[in-house]
């Protein structure tokens, strides 16, 4: 288990390094230099030189790369070109909002998705099962920002049940929860469909497995068979996908946060991209990548713990 963990974490670190190098290289691939790109037509030579120096662009390239890596390791992700605030601090301010949104969305998706999946298993082959199948595919394919806008129109603008913009007042849990419901639902809908489908397939496969038959042959109760023997095996692919799903959910957050004008990493990046604010984009992308890789790696380790076959096949 330990060797597997080390291997898995090592791979994640290697990928982070590759991603960092690639992102750094990308800046140099563009025609023109990042300083004038960021400053746009207003760039005076003096302003440009100042920015170049602040971004460390006047140094030889290996020094730049070295500085970049060592800064990132120290938690320094650079400074906003306009407000000159540290990027790390900007991310720290808004990230909890995004995390909360993602967590609520994932919880909705897990409860509804596993519930619908189990329903489909219980009613397997009946018309409810078929309706659920069509519903799942539809939920998977509809774009979340369109769902978000419709939800906003119906429940915030027309019915006025939930706020249309923002993330609620700091410190006021009630308002924060009211503000998260609609965006979380918009993001969750894709994953409700996806998980319902996955749980159904996974459960059906496990319930017809030989070992479930063995458990039956020893007279175990159906409840014990489903909860202890089948679900533990069926849940393994769900955990794997939930971790990947977290990345996907944070991606959808980019669109949905904009729809609900909700402060978060998504709105931060979007506005930075629109203003071509390099350090903020790079810093946020790097942060999100690292966060995503951490979640995926943790999920892999958890999976290895739940399913001893996984860690043994990957041990060698």
């Amino acid at each position: 288990m330990l060797t597997y963990a080390i291997k898995r974490i090592g791979l994640a670190l290697l990928i982070i390094c590759v991603v960092m190098l690639a992102m750094y290289a990308m800046v140099f691939l563009v025609p023109g230099d990042p300083a004038s790109l960021a400053l746009g037509p207003r760039a005076t030579p003096q302003l440009k030189a100042e920015l170049m120096q602040r971004m460390g662009l006047d140094q030889p390239i290996y020094v730049q790369v070295w500085n970049f890596f060592s800064n990132v390791l120290r938690g320094d992700l650079g400074y906003d070109v306009w407000s000159k605030r540290p990027v790390a601090q900007m991310i720290a301010e808004v990230f909890p909002n995004t995390l909360f949104l993602g967590a609520v969305a994932m919880s909705i998706a897990l409860v509804a998705g596993i519930g619908l999946g189990c329903l489909a298993v219980v009613w397997q082959g009946r018309s409810i099962d078929r309706v659920l199948a069509v519903l799942s595919v539809s939920m998977i394919s509809i774009p979340s920002f369109v769902v978000g806008i419709y939800l906003l129109l119906v429940f915030a603008v027309w019915l006025g049940w939930f706020p249309a913009i923002g993330a609620g007042d700091p410190g006021d849990w009630g308002s924060q929860i009211r503000a998260v419901v609609l965006p979380a639902a918009a993001i969750a809908i894709t994953w409700v469909g996806y998980l319902a489908r996955l749980v159904r397939a996974s459960m059906l496969e496990v319930m017809s497995a030989n070992h479930v038959r063995t458990a039956r042959a020893f007279g175990l109760t159906d409840a014990k068979i489903v909860l202890r023997y089948a679900l533990r095996v069926a849940i393994v692919p769900v955990i794997a996908i939930v971790a990947v799903g977290f990345g996907s959910i944070l991606s959808s957050a980019v669109f949905v946060e904009t729809v609900f004008s909700r402060p978060g990493i998504g709105t931060l990046i979007t506005s930075a991209v629109q203003k071509r604010n390099f350090p903020v984009v790079m810093g946020s992308v790097l942060f999100m990548t690292a966060f995503y890789l951490t979640v995926v790696t943790l999920a892999d380790l958890l999976m290895a713990k739940l399913d001893p076959r996984v860690r043994d096949t990957l041990r060698g």
Binding site: H211, R213, A215, K224, R232, P308
Partner: protein
């Protein structure tokens, strides 16, 4: 002679399929007494797996009992409620499964499963059950039972898995032990060891053993009586000695002739039985083996053969066996 412990009485089972009802088992009758081991042999598709499922009341969803039943403890266990069936399974009728690799749960340790399998024993603490499991593992020849209890099925060798599967089946001292192809998943040396183990266990086991296999040697080693099945029917039954030494049904004769163990001379071609199994959706009117039988007559093809007593408790379902 004692009353049979388990009696399969005129049992017919059909599966719903797209072509129609597939009659996997047709009017099978057999019995097992306490202290007796019976063997059920036949090629794949002869209905032995269906029979095995019926014995542990785990028929597939699309299976339907069309006649007869399985009598055990004064009841037809295929007709009682699901809950009653569940209480019989494992405790009174237990099964040694075909492929222990997939028959144990991959994410629970052998110990956790062996404890769960004793759920129906009341008044025993978890640690008692674990101790019972360890003792049973020791009895089936697993050298370090405690270690084995903590392992997952994929961490055991093939032989160990099969021993653990046997231990699982014996845990609650069931009155009937059903073994479904207990040696198929093993290589020859392992097979010999498992046969040896099963023989040793037979000495101090006083329930009935039902061994279901395509392997004639296994039945010859372990069983008192043998039932030969073909196309869902029992075509010949009798003591193992009688059936092996003077088979009366042409199918049994062919089966014995084709057993690699009986081929001593160097031969360029291994003997086989020509032809294929009959269509079980529309079984033939006459003898179901007629199409593959060298001695079949028109009479065989049109009239179902009678159940002929050819010796003391030795029966064959064949026109030719008539005196």
């Amino acid at each position: 002679m004692s009353e049979p412990l388990l009696k399969v009485d005129d049992l017919s089972i059909a599966y719903a399929s797209e072509e129609g009802a597939l009659q996997a088992l047709r009017h099978a009758t057999l019995e097992a007494r306490a202290g007796e081991a019976i063997g059920i042999v036949g090629e794949s598709g002869c209905g032995k797996s269906t029979l095995a499922s019926a014995l542990i009341t785990l028929l597939a969803r699309n299976a339907r009992v069309t006649s007869g039943g399985v009598r055990f403890g004064g009841k037809d266990i295929l007709a009682v409620s699901d809950e009653e069936q569940r209480r019989i399974r494992g405790r009174h009728i237990a099964m040694i499964f075909q492929d222990p690799m997939t028959s144990f749960n991959p994410v629970l340790t052998i110990g956790e499963q062996l404890v769960d399998f004793q759920d129906q024993r009341e008044g025993l603490s978890k640690s008692d059950k674990r101790r019972a499991a360890a003792a049973m593992l020791k009895r089936v020849g697993i050298p370090d039972p405690e270690r084995c209890l903590g392992r997952y099925v994929h961490e055991l060798s093939g032989g160990m898995r099969q021993r653990a599967a046997i231990a699982a089946a014996l845990l609650m001292a069931p009155q009937v032990l059903v073994a479904d192809e207990p040696t198929t998943a093993l290589d020859v040396t392992m097979e010999a060891q498992i046969i040896h183990l099963l023989r040793a266990l037979r000495q101090d086991y006083n329930g009935a053993i039902v061994i279901i296999t395509h392997h004639l040697g296994l039945v010859g080693e372990l069983c008192d009586r043998v039932y030969v099945m073909y196309a869902g029917e029992v075509v010949e039954e009798g003591s193992t000695d009688d059936v092996y030494h003077s088979p009366r049904h042409p199918y049994t004769q062919a089966l014995i002739a084709c057993d690699p163990a009986n081929i001593h001379d160097q031969t360029p071609v291994l003997p086989t039985i020509p032809g294929r199994l009959p269509d079980l959706v529309n079984p033939p009117q006459g003898c179901s083996f007629a199409a593959r039988c060298a001695r079949a007559t028109d009479h065989c093809r049109s009239v179902a053969p009678p159940h002929v007593e050819v010796g003391s408790r030795h029966f064959a379902r064949c026109h030719e066996a008539l005196p």
